[in-house]
């Protein structure tokens, strides 16, 4: 019996080690390209084909701001991402709450439509919007790209927000109204704070989807200006210059820092809430005993 248990333990340990090795290999598949990308930001060559030696020159070149195309496309991408994020989060938060709370004609249809941008290939969505814009004579540019980005960000925002609205949300709102707050006050003081983590993740998701998007940005852009990913796609034919690697490296670092900050804030919030909860419970039990 004991021998049997021992064997079982051994087998479990072996499978755990094998699992660990397997997971590490999969992670390697994801991290190798990132590390190579960073490595080539230090490449001492005009264009990235092969490794020619170490230099930090490209970071210096990047911050001499002489590469106008690169910086212009970055600013263009950032403005689009910020505007698309704001619109998507506002519509997504309202929509997430509204679609969860209310019953109305056509709600099923809207819910179905929300899945379309998530599952349909992006190229299909992009060209169908392109045809509409062209047929209506709408000029392509920042506006059309923002509309395109919002169209695939809003569904993700709605899904994220819906997931955060729990059953006790209604009770909280009723309590707030019973205590004399009106709808608007309740919305800002009760509903919004209770789904704040969802709002933050929706914003982060929208921003990352928008800033990395190629297909919408490519199809719905004017010929004059392009976002950073579209610039990369076109530069790829002649070879990518290491300053683009340098810029991408900096962007990754900013993103990772931002995400760590976000999760830090969320964790501190959760801790504070737990403490408040414990405090209330202590007070209640004190009242009961007293």
């Amino acid at each position: 019996m004991k021998q049997n248990a021992n064997r079982k333990l051994k087998r479990q340990r072996r499978s755990r080690i094998l699992g660990g090795i397997y997971a590490a290999l999969i992670y390697a598949l994801f991290y190798i390209p990132v590390l190579v990308m960073i490595q080539f930001s230090f490449n001492d060559a005009k264009r990235n084909y092969s490794w020619e030696g170490f230099t930090t020159m490209w970071y210096g070149k990047l911050f001499s701001f002489r590469n106008h195309d690169l910086w212009e496309s970055l600013v263009y991408s950032l403005v689009i991402a910020v505007v698309a994020t704001v619109i998507s989060v506002v519509i997504g938060v309202l929509g997430g709450i509204g679609l969860k709370k209310f019953e109305f004609h056509g709600k099923k249809f809207i819910n179905l439509m929300l899945y379309v941008p998530i599952v349909v290939p992006e190229i299909v969505l992009a060209v169908s919007m392109l045809i509409i814009f062209m047929s209506l004579g709408i000029k392509l540019g920042m506006g059309t790209i923002v509309i395109g980005h919002c169209t695939f960000c809003i569904p993700y925002a709605v899904v994220t927000i819906k997931g955060r609205i729990s059953g006790d949300n209604d009770t909280l709102q009723e309590a707030s109204m019973d205590l004399g707050a009106n709808r608007v006050q309740t919305f800002w003081r009760v509903t919004i704070p209770s789904i704040m983590p969802g709002i933050l993740s929706a914003a982060f998701l929208s921003f990352t989807l928008s800033i990395d998007d190629v297909i919408m940005s490519n199809m719905l852009a004017s010929a004059r200006q392009s976002t950073l990913p579209v610039l990369i796609l076109s530069v790829n034919r002649t070879g990518i210059t290491p300053d683009i690697n340098a810029l991408t490296t900096i962007m990754v670092l900013i993103m990772v820092t931002g995400m760590l900050l976000l999760s830090f804030i969320q964790r501190r919030r959760a801790k504070k809430e737990a403490e408040e909860m414990a405090e209330t419970e202590k007070r209640i039990s004190a009242m009961r005993n007293g």
């Binding site: 397997y22 997971a23 992670y27 598949l29 994801f30 991290y31 190798i32 390209p33 990132v34 190579v36 990308m37 080539f40 990235n48 092969s50 519509i91 997504g92 309202l94 709450i97 509204g98 679609l99 209310f102 109305f104 809207i110 819910n111 439509m113 929300l114 899945y115 379309v116 941008p117 998530i118 599952v119 349909v120 290939p121 190229i123 299909v124 969505l125 060209v127 169908s128 919007m129 392109l130 509409i132 062209m134 509309i147 919002c150 169209t151 809003i154 899904v159 709808r183 998701l205 990352t208 297909i215 990369i232 790829n236 990518i240 991408t248 962007m251 990754v252 990772v256 995400m259 999760s263």
Partner: protein, 292 residues
Amino acid sequence: MSGSSTATRKRHSRLPMIAQAGPVSVWMILFVTIPMLFIIFISFMTRGTFGGVEYVPTLKSYETLADLVYFNVILKSLRVALVTTVVCLLLGYPFAYYIARKPADVASRLIMLLMIPFWTNSLMRLNAWMLLFQTNGPVNKALLALGLVQKPVTFVYTDGLVLLGLITNFLPFAVLPMYSSIEKLQTAMLEASADLGARPSVTFLRVTLPLTFPGIFSAIILTFIPALGTYTITDMLGGGKVLYIGNIIKNQFGTIRNWPLGAALSVLLLLVTALLIFLYSRFAKIEDMEVL
């Protein structure tokens, strides 16, 4: 008196509904429903002489799809998307299982670790594969040094490299839904199965696999469909030499200017998507589809 007050109350109570559910509904109808209907409409129209569309109904675009050139591209795209999906499922399931069986805090950190690489510009990550697989790149050097090959292998601009790009790009989208369905799996179920004398392989096939099927099917949808429609991965790693459906669609709206043909190909992709979603709805509720 009381009648009119109920009426105002009713009108009042509609306002928050319109304010909250209104914008998203209008947006989705304007920018999803109408464009989708319009592209289906355009696919039945005639190609304009100088690009654009003449509003004369025809089935010409669909007939063109049956041409050998296009038909082969469609078949090849379907095949490559299928291979990508199968590999992603086979690689992703054990990985998702490994993460899901960890304690919750470790698992959430492992998931985070999975997301981080994807904040790097996707095209630059694809370019990195290209750099690794150059004719005089590190992979070829390693193969030569190990004596596995006699002269450098050409990887760049081949279907193989495109496949690698597709798999590494879509694997996380396969892992995440499978992870959330495995995570929901009750250990009690597995224990019950084992207690009733089922061998681990039987438990896996008859309990674990069926219960996590919604996650697996979400993974199929989230890898197969985008893999079928991509053109950036083929552009970056195939150098314009490898053409899939996505490239052909894009070209119809760029240099070639055959909108109805591009529209017909898009409708084809829509049909494939609809078919998969329909199949999914037979097994699980659409609302339960894990998309994040």
